[in-house]
Symmetry: C2
Subunit: 212 residues, 2 copies
């Protein structure tokens, strides 16, 4: 239900609308506006309670226009919002290895401390989607395992470089890092005195010969 | 919106219905049935999307009957579900101090590994409720801080008993323990190879002179 085929449908739709250059640009801008509104609505209401009609109203266009840009409807909108965000995060880690990749995770945490809405949206959606019947379950499950693999790989590179403490197992360290990061986000959202980036930095450092 | 007054309203309502002993017992049983259904509906749909009509249908009674038992409606139902669960957990920690309290947290994690629905419900509701406009925001925020205080107190008792490693600060250790516990629940719900109770036990042990 929630997989790569939505990207295909959407890309095809964008392609058909392209036409002259100005029109393509206008369409791309409208897509961004719709994604901004979808982000806002899903942040406030969650995916289940959020509606396409509210997103359309916020942009000031009809539901039909929204579906013209996102042929898959609500699921395609969610996918678009998540994809845009994940791309930013993944780009920031590109070409980083071992310790540098782990330091990149700290930088992402630091960046998120100024984006309460983003953190909240991810927490709400990824938690709703723990239900195997949720349309985004496959997406979030795959995302969670993809991130765990990438962080495990970074810890393994750190091990090869002699940067890991004796006895630290890369996969266990990766899972502990992810658990701590997600848990700290929840505490932060509930107003506990945590400094997400600093606490993540310190936690990852417990696995390293030299602190980050 | 979501505070102690709901308990008062509800208790008063139970009291009025009491009458002869058999009738009281019947009413108490019906309340439990309604809470079972509310738990089930909120687990599957979350609080926002879950409906009183669905809960009523599941019990096989009218919405009016549900509201007869839970005068505050949907919010009172949620409060009832949460309260019932929290009471069980809090009772299990009663009279425990320091290391024994920390071991009690591990026992709660072990118990939850057999209750995927419970873990999922708490994750979904407490995450939805990070929104300050959510009716259960005050409840979950207070709950989160109450738990943090209790765990901080247990670490402080462990410190007084000489059970904490040098340099471990009770409040920081408590927040890290809560973050790790919540984060591990998420990884577990997404099918990662974590053993929640064992991982929590090991994590808490990193703060202690002798492992739990």
């Amino acid at each position: 239900m929630f997989n790569a085929s939505y990207f295909d449908v959407r890309s095809a739709s964008v392609h058909c609308m392209a036409g002259p250059r100005g029109e393509y640009k206008k369409s791309a801008q409208r897509r961004e506006q719709i994604l901004d509104a979808a982000f806002d609505v899903f942040s406030r209401s969650g995916y289940t309670a959020g509606s396409v009609s509210e997103i359309a109203r916020q942009v000031g266009i009809s539901q039909t226009s929204v579906v013209h840009h996102f042929a898959g409807g609500k699921i395609a909108l969610l996918q678009g919002v998540l994809e845009r965000r994940d791309t930013t995060a993944e780009n920031s880690l590109e070409n980083l290895e071992g310790r540098a990749f782990l330091a990149g995770l700290v930088a992402i945490s630091r960046n998120q401390a100024g984006q309460r809405g983003v953190v909240q949206l991810y927490r709400i959606l990824s938690t709703e989607a723990t239900d195997p019947d949720h349309p985004a379950h496959g997406y979030f499950r795959a995302r969670s395992h993809r991130i765990a693999d990438a962080v495990t790989h970074a810890f393994a590179q750190a091990e090869d470089a002699g940067d890991l403490r004796d006895g630290v197992e890369p996969h266990a360290a990766a899972l502990a890092t992810l658990a701590m990061t997600e848990g700290l986000e929840m505490l932060w959202l509930y107003g506990h005195d945590v400094d997400m980036a600093e606490d993540v930095r310190r936690f990852i450092s417990t696995f390293l010969v030299q602190p980050l």
